[in-house]
Symmetry: D3
Subunit: 243 residues, 6 copies
């Protein structure tokens, strides 16, 4: 769903910059003669690239941070000139936050709790009325001050910074989201329906790797670690003798 | 202010497409594998071009209509490939409305009431849950079903179509708007301050043309016609013998 | 040769849209004030991306369909904004055909007969005078109504739809095609010339996989299946004891 | 109609580069690893810019020549990087012709015979099998070797160079052409219908300038000069006392 | 010559950022993962737009300042997304200087001494090792600390800031400069040669306006004011009775 | 460091084209109405793509040559239209050199001496005053006439062609280079610091492959071959029994 969540994060950021919404009243893209706003996107994966495309489309200055140099090279090949790539590090984040009008947290560690990338202390260096959007809230969030919100009451303010941390962002745009999700999952669903779950898991390593729980055992290491369960290798459960 | 109102019209359109806001739940820009939404912009002037840049930036399919062929040529020179220019006419508007997810009315006839370009009857051909944004509401609006709204209660629905018609849209983004307005008006303000109003009007025809009321007389023809007042030629008031 | 066939497919489509050629008289790219034509490209591989680049270059609205979501993501990274990516499915093809002025069939299943993607029944939903170009005709074609044609007599019409299905399209542009083919094949030719066929096949799995017939046995599964021959594993033929 | 003729000129050039059509078998846009063809466009007005957009879209190297430096500046602002602007002169044309695969003559001197820009002698410096497209053939053509052709028999060859000089090029794409023509002329037609021809000519100098013959007198200087008629100032005919 | 001087200013700025040249050792365009340098261009005319194109091409963040809002609108239409337009004012210049790695002074007031836009005091807010390039040095320069230099010894340092102020910059690239100058001036030269100077001045107001000295009288007001000479209206000198 | 060396190669090429520096006085990017210069980049890897981006940014005509067709395809996907990709071969290099104003040698064979790609004889076909920049000089250079130079005395001339072959080009821009190098190497440094060199070499094959000398033995084949030392397989040294 990251392809929907990324653009939505920017749209929400733009919206909560409106003064009536708590923001400091800045247009993301500026206008001729007025300097545009600055968007900082932490994480250059699926969420990040799609957020960056939209933010660039709006005309903002966009910084995208990632720790994978090859990903940064690819981003600098395909993104327009106002998408500036930065090697991510605590120092780099600290440097860029004071410029930001919108910060998008788009770091996802598959199946694990997201690391904390922006601490409460760092908030103090930011402009009052700027907006944080935490796309990784489903897995714990990447801002220290993030706590899950809902579409009905999506934001709260900490130290003058607006926080948006709705846990199911794409739910607001169900038509697009459903199509996107179908596109990504239908091939797997068809294969599972045709073969039954166990056969699919035996034959298709991609689906096997996606299993979280099999016969009551947690087979996904990230999930087991995050919740303190015992991790069982899925191979022991699906390749047993009786098969 | 059109440079702020144009982009804002698209941001509002994007927001009210969210299902919780009354829209039909579509992301303007689509995602890989999903067809993007369609934006129709009526009027290719200052509001229109800035709205179109933003809508293109978001990744939508964008139609921009104008009656000035030279303006359409310029737009097709400088806009990206997914900004499709159309010669405006009642027939062209009728043709394109059924495709639209967001329609922006950006036609301004200086000092006059805006013509009605989208009738109530045409609404019936549109998709339920699509959004109309009337930027020309300050001068009467260009949709038959437009009525002025406020930032506190910005939308209403007619025949399943969401209407957004806040009369002072840029007011929501006061920082950017103030800078933009200053850039456009400061040179005039300085000149007026230095010379006094009457001298400026005598010397600078651009400012003279901008006068609405002088010594209690309506000197702007469009305003006089719209409100039923007598129109007095400003020259008679400022170039009198005693000067 | 797909890099030549892709652009040529669009050039042929543009040509047969001329009314004297049987088409409905539309310019692919439109002009300022006139809506451009729509090109649908089925298959986002080598043929598809090169066809899409050209169609976008001409200014058309371009839909490109593929079943590989990662390919669609890459296409949406590198193609301009008027190249709309769609997840391919029978439903998606059915939806997009009525809009099309030119349809390019660019699906190639290596060594196998191409699946039928557009049925005769679907033709009825298309505009009279639109053009189908079947690049996969060499391997059976991907339109039900395709039958192989020649450069001397390249088109025929079914149900009002112009069909172009020349089996050796790049043959019309021999200079570019020869260079392109050389670039792609010379490294293999040099290696084969230096080592002899059997040694190359033993050492270079890429060339080994390309073998169609060895010592009278069909070693390419797709070919064997398509023509009803027995398939023999090439390893048995080239790694025999006597070597 | 220049907005249709420009792109069509490139499409025809691409087509007649096919070997079966007499050309030397080169793809305009090249493919990865193969140098693209070169297009030379003489005249940077309406025909030229639209031809250049299309040729750039196809991926060719494009030279556009004009004698108006401000027009070249504008072209270099809005065209992509592979559209190279050149100040036109006999020397510049002579320099660039040997590189050309397609040459488009798009110089129009309103109401006058076009000057000869490419002489027969210059043809000898060009590559055999390259293509000349003369868009200004309606007004005499800008290549010495141009003679008018028809859609039925559109080309002939001089000194190994294919010539395309159909006098009504847009006639091949009537749908697009009709719309484009309507967009450009409808406003005048409406005004003429509403006011009658004489009143319109008195009131609208733009229409007055367009008149060719009034009451049997040739009122357009270029036409009078070209055909050896007497030129009568239109003012004498429409502003007579009796009006 | 501004079309040569603009790009050259950026090339010189890039060169003097090298540490061995006195600069602070920064690459204008950055690399993937490293933030690019910032270029500030004061003046959005011929020098400015050409400097900005090059600086954007190098991948820098580019700010261009001008006092003409319509020019800024045009720049924002045709320049890429990392060219940020700012309404020029002393405050705006003061704000943006501390970010700058290279500053280009490209303000030309025809025939008059350039105003001082960057004072010595402002230099103190700039980064040590950044570079000022004063393209307007021929007419006095727009930095308080500018003094004319030569290609042989092009730079000097004030308060840690490298100054480049060669008065005939295009002289370093004579081939391109000569062609550019010819393109701009040849039409005038031909006309002068054909008609003689006096006739040309009588007939062509553009050339008349360009005259600096006629029969020993200074006829160009800006020049007369700058050097303290009496200004004589050229009309009195060339339209005398005896003509 | 190739991401710094690539752009620098172009900046140096632009600088040494200045006539005072020995070049023939051409601006890389041309100006409106003047044909731009031509840059030839041999090698489409890290150096090449970054050099090409900059050269395109400057507005030059850019040819990039590589022997990997897939790399050329990627380059043609992401680079602008004036970056022309060519399949590299001795014939292709010979063809393109006479057009070149700047040639960048960016071929690196990891750990081996670079092959000679431009011979002294080929220099004679080039324009006097054009510039060769050899980025691969650290590993022997790819022009026959290359010999290592320094930032203090960076160029020399052979047969009228300026040669720039500074062996540590990025050293001139230490700020950017240090950041770029850190980004690329810090992850390895951290891992080495945490685990100690031997453990890292045992666990991380990427670092293991980077080792040049272990316990006095040359473990990098390219280095051993180039300098005539015996090559010892690193596995024998780090996976010994005693571990």
């Amino acid at each position: 769903m990251s392809e929907v969540a990324g653009p939505m994060a920017i749209q929400q950021g733009a919206k909560y910059l409106e003064m009536a919404q708590g923001g400091h009243g800045v247009l993301l893209g500026g206008v001729p003669g007025v300097d545009p706003a600055t968007v900082v996107i932490i994480g250059g994966g699926g969420v990040g690239i799609n957020a960056a495309k939209l933010a660039c489309g709006l005309g903002a200055k966009v910084y995208i941070l990632d720790i994978d140099l090859n990903r940064l090279r690819y981003l600098s090949d395909v993104m327009p000139g106002h998408c500036f790539t930065l090697m991510s590090s605590p120092a780099a984040i600290r440097d860029v936050l004071p410029k930001a009008d919108v910060v998008v947290g788009g770091v996802l560690v598959p199946g694990s709790k997201t690391p904390t990338l922006v601490t409460r202390e760092m908030l103090k260096t930011m402009k009052k009325g700027s907006v944080l959007v935490d796309v990784s809230i489903d897995q714990g969030g990447c801002f220290e001050t993030s706590r899950e919100t809902t579409h009905a009451d999506p934001t709260y303010t900490v130290d003058g910074i607006v926080h948006y941390a709705v846990s199911n962002m794409p739910g607001a745009l169900p038509r697009t989201s459903t199509l996107a999700l179908n596109n990504a999952t239908l091939p797997y669903a068809v294969e599972i329906a045709n073969k039954g779950w166990k056969k699919v898991m035996q034959e298709n390593p991609e689906i096997r790797r996606g299993a979280n729980v099999v016969s009551g055992h947690v087979t996904y290491k990230g999930v087991a670690d995050a919740f303190g369960f015992e991790h069982v290798n899925i191979d022991k459960l699906i390749f047993r003798k009786t098969d």
